[in-house]
């Protein structure tokens, strides 16, 4: 019996799943097929959360329950078709997907010995790991749906002590489709102990067609590993993105993360970082910018489950027109996680009178030996700053533009990767150009 807290999904999901599972028979292992069926059942039982569910209080996704979605119709895509895709650089270790399908001819592999890429369907043999068990306790309906429907899931593994000089870029592209399609990107990344890498995962559109991008991403950092990670949601304004990213950090690992959200009509990203080994550090920077009637919802959860870990979070948001945003940042400190240092800051800039932000920090601390701070600000452009620029001859429109960009720059500035910095800067320019 479902409660009224969720909305039952329409039969068309059954059709989507039926068509898909038929096609997978013979390709997937029996175990994986069983996992997919079970995941689909969990999705149906769960339904789509309504705003009565706390985690979805400010973002209404119930339209997904009966949205007419189809599987993508695959057409050949050549290098010219993706020439303008964001963050593409020939020198990167690039893995390109179009509509959920791996495109080896568009990808660039330089160092296959160091960085292995295995199809998840192969990795999941009879005796292999049960992906859904990775975090069974906090599987959302969307993660269950992803598990039922992912196509070319991938496991990227960087061997222990491996130092990857090149940036690794996994690009999920959406081609121009004639119907509203659902794509379920699925990625598992693991860094062996003391491995070092820089990885970007981006979601982007090649045309203006709508799509539902439902992504699930797991990252595991083994002892002493260091990861610079960038998650960039750059979909078109007709797209829906729901992403769940879970990062697990073992002892003495370092994570520097950029969570960048500009593009989709509706974007929800749940980013969970579990620090399970002592001495792990995390620095998490986020930027979201929305306008028109766009909606963005960033949920972060930092779990301090081991002693001597530190986390820093700076999330900034820019909202204009009638856009709405949510930032929900939770820090959970477990018993025994002594000498925890957790800091979180969320700042929002409202550029119109009709936009709205719900900012909610959440500290759950079960321990005494803890230094945790958090804060959230919501503001408009500062009058004194505007006057300062005006007093130097800069007109109001330009001053507003400079200050808004400056607001965002403070986050982008944290990126050590200058190339990535300038790429994201460019994407941000597009946001502002259409506003001003």
């Amino acid at each position: 019996m479902k409660t009224a807290r969720t909305k039952p999904v329409s039969d068309q999901y059954g059709d989507l799943f039926g068509a898909f599972i038929g096609e997978r028979e013979g390709k997937d292992s029996v175990a994986l097929l069983a996992q997919r069926r079970a995941a689909y059942d969990r999705f149906v039982v769960a339904g789509i959360p309504t705003r009565r569910v706390e985690a979805w209080k400010y973002t209404d996704v119930t339209a997904l329950a009966d949205r007419h979605l189809a599987h993508a119709v695959l057409a050949p895509i050549g290098p010219d078709d993706i020439a303008h895709a964001p963050l593409l650089h020939a020198e990167d270790e690039t893995l390109v997907y179009v509509d959920g399908i791996m495109q080896p001819h568009l990808s660039h592999r330089h160092d296959e010995a160091l960085l292995s890429a295995t199809a998840l369907s192969e990795a999941l043999t009879e005796s292999g790991p049960d992906l859904s068990a990775l975090r069974a306790d906090r599987e959302t309906p969307f993660m269950a749906l992803n598990h039922a429907l992912w196509r070319d899931g991938l496991h990227l593994h960087l061997a222990a002590n491996g130092k990857m000089e090149r940036r690794i870029h996994v690009l999920f592209l959406h081609s121009q489709q004639s119907s509203d399609v659902i794509v379920n990107p699925r990625l598992l990344i693991s860094l062996g102990h003391h491995a070092e890498a820089s990885i970007a995962v981006t979601h982007a559109s090649l045309g203006d067609a709508p799509c539902f991008n439902n992504a699930t991403l797991d990252i595991a950092l083994d002892e002493g590993a260091q990861l610079n990670f960038c998650h960039a949601q750059l979909l078109n304004p007709a797209a829906t993105h729901i992403g769940a990213t879970s990062i697990t950090q073992q002892a003495d690992t370092t994570l520097r993360c950029m969570d960048f959200n500009i593009g989709a009509a509706l974007a929800r990203h749940d980013l969970t970082v579990a620090m399970v080994g002592p001495g792990a550090t995390t620095s998490l920077n986020g930027l979201y910018a929305v306008k028109d009637r766009q909606q963005v919802d960033c949920h972060t959860l930092i779990e301090h489950a081991a002693p001597n870990c530190s986390s820093r979070q700076l999330y900034k948001g820019i909202l204009d027109d009638r856009a709405t945003g949510v930032f929900n940042g939770a820090i959970r400190v477990y018993p025994g996680a002594s000498a925890t240092d957790g800091q979180q800051m969320n700042r929002n800039l409202l550029l119109s009178n009709t936009c709205k932000i719900n900012a909610k920090p959440e500290l759950q601390i079960s321990n005494d030996d803890v230094k945790c701070t958090h804060g959230a600000t919501v503001g408009r452009l500062d009058d004194q700053e505007l006057f300062y620029l005006a007093s130097r001859g800069i007109d109001t429109a330009t001053a507003r533009d400079m200050l808004s960009r400056g607001f965002a720059e403070e986050v982008l500035f944290q990126l050590a990767d200058r190339q990535l910095h300038s790429d994201l800067h460019e994407i941000l320019n597009l946001y502002f150009e259409k506003t001003v």
Binding site: S391, R392, D395, T398, E409
Partner: protein, 253 residues
Amino acid sequence: MLKIRNLRAKVVDGPDILKGIDLDVNAGEIHAVMGPNGSGKSTLSRVLAGHPDYEVTGGTVEFEINREPKDLLAMEAHERACAGVFLAFQYPTEIPGVSNSVFLRAAFNAICRAQGVPSVDAFDFRALLTEKLALIGMDDSYLERPVNLDFSGGEKKRNEILQMAVLAPRLAILDETDSGLDVDSLRIVAEGVKSLCTPHNATLMITHYQRMLEYITPDIVHVLMDGRIVRTGDHTLAKAVETRGYDWVRDEA
């Protein structure tokens, strides 16, 4: 160049702060304005620069542009700056995320555009900056830092004068540029300001101390008290104020 008559101003919903200011400044002149805390010196400077917090309740301000007197009060703050009015703030504002060089170039180009002068390319602008930095004794590490952010008090003051040097205003109002500067910085900044004074521009220096005036001798000194200029004299007036305090001026006024 600047003609102020019976200027009255207040903050919105507040009492009058400026209660009838009369002041004439000609090209080539250096004026000093002294006065006790809270007498309205910064208010005068901000009203002239067009700060939106203040409401002008009476009087006129004429500023000569191309030898024509123009109603300064009718102009927007950025238009005043483009016409050559510059205010070095007593408390310069921090602008996170906007680098000093980007800011300076935007300001320089805005003023060039308004004055019909072709703007310069990034390369030539850099050369100009290098020259002006040397004048103020700053190194170029300040250029890529966000405007005034985490600058020390003295560094902020220098940064104001760097902007003055780059923007070459016709009327520079320096609000307590000397306070917060150590002795060596004061000398460098004062000499920098002095070198920027020409027969074609004018400077209004607000100060509490004689020390800046030792480097830059003012032609005229005004004492502002309770929103009015109560006394005007030559540079000896500044010395007299410093030794004898304001009660003396008040008693004589």
